[in-house]
Symmetry: C2
Subunit: 168 residues, 2 copies
DNA sequence: CTCAAATAGTTCGTCAACAAACAATTTAGT
DNA sequence: ACTAAATTGTTTGTTGACGAACTATTTGAG
């Protein structure tokens, strides 16, 4: 069967040669993990590049703003909630929010019901910025998987879903 | 068709509701990207955790050592080659190599044929460390995809390969 | 009611990444 | 052969992440 090859096949072949016969090495696992890493690394690189031209607005800023816009209770969250959502420490979130506030994309207001808490809300400019970038982001995601037909995308999800369920 | 669902299905459903009818949103793309991110994030978290107990040996150190051991021309490379392989700047690689050298896992020697270059080689201790951790790493990779059968892994690679080729 | 414990957010000190400037060396045009 | 350009690795200054210590506020046990 002369299937068409990609760059990862070469990597796996080299790797297999080195581990020749060692049952600890699973070529199909190595291939799948490596390919997923490759696809997401390309996406990541493009996402970052998309924000490089912007003044005072980074990929991290977008990520934070996104977490805020996507909250179940929309357009209002505390720094701790956002930190958990984005998986950074509260300390880092303090810095991120300071930047976004300085850029006029969010407001920070102490909650009058519990004066330890801070309520974070997007400004209109923040909502507009998110709206703009979320569209571009979806286009980039679709481009990453442009090699697959609709039917193949469904098959891919069926397999990935099973893998995810194996972990949950 | 009452397929079995995973956590990502909920995310996609919420997302689809928000973008109701908007053709810019592609649910199967969103699902596939999100699932790949989830799987690799779990792997990443576990990899990092596996090195937390170690004194003076981090995930980054392993990554660098790994790049060195995997060079086509094995067990010898220049800092620039390693930097490109790991995708960090040369400046960062200088710091990483200094750490590995301090830990006695590599040596740095100026190339007598071209005195601008530095040849990096693993010590025996470095090779032993890599050998140990690469086995554990493969076990973790296989565990990430334990939900899939061998046949499904092949199918997954067929689809991912096509996606990768779409980018190459 | 009072005071210790818990909680929310910020500040501080450290670490590693980056980009840009730099020093040393090699390559190439004339 | 000589010098300008390119290449290789390191140094420097800045940035953002982290954990731990800290401040302010709320909760709860007696």
């Amino acid at each position: 069967m002369d299937r068409v090859h990609d760059s990862v096949d070469e990597h796996v072949a080299r790797w297999a040669a080195r581990w020749d016969g060692n049952p600890a090495f699973a070529p199909e696992v190595e291939g799948a993990i490596t390919r997923m890493q490759l696809l997401l690394r390309v996406k990541n690189r493009r996402d970052t590049a998309a924000f490089l031209g912007e003044e005072d607005f980074t990929r991290e800023d977008y990520e934070t703003l996104h977490a805020l816009m996507v909250q179940p209770y929309p357009t209002e969250a505390t720094p701790t909630q956002l930190a958990e959502s984005v998986r950074v420490t509260k300390a880092s979130m303090t810095g991120r929010l300071a930047r976004l506030e300085r850029a006029g994309l969010i407001t920070r207001e102490t909650d009058s019901d519990n004066r330890r808490r801070v309520l974070v809300r997007p400004t209109q400019a923040g909502q507009d910025a998110w709206d703009h970038y979320v569209h571009e982001g979806m286009r980039r995601e679709q481009d990453i998987l442009r090699g697959l037909t609709d039917k193949e995308l469904v098959q891919l999800n069926t397999l990935l879903r099973k893998a995810v369920r194996g972990l949950e």
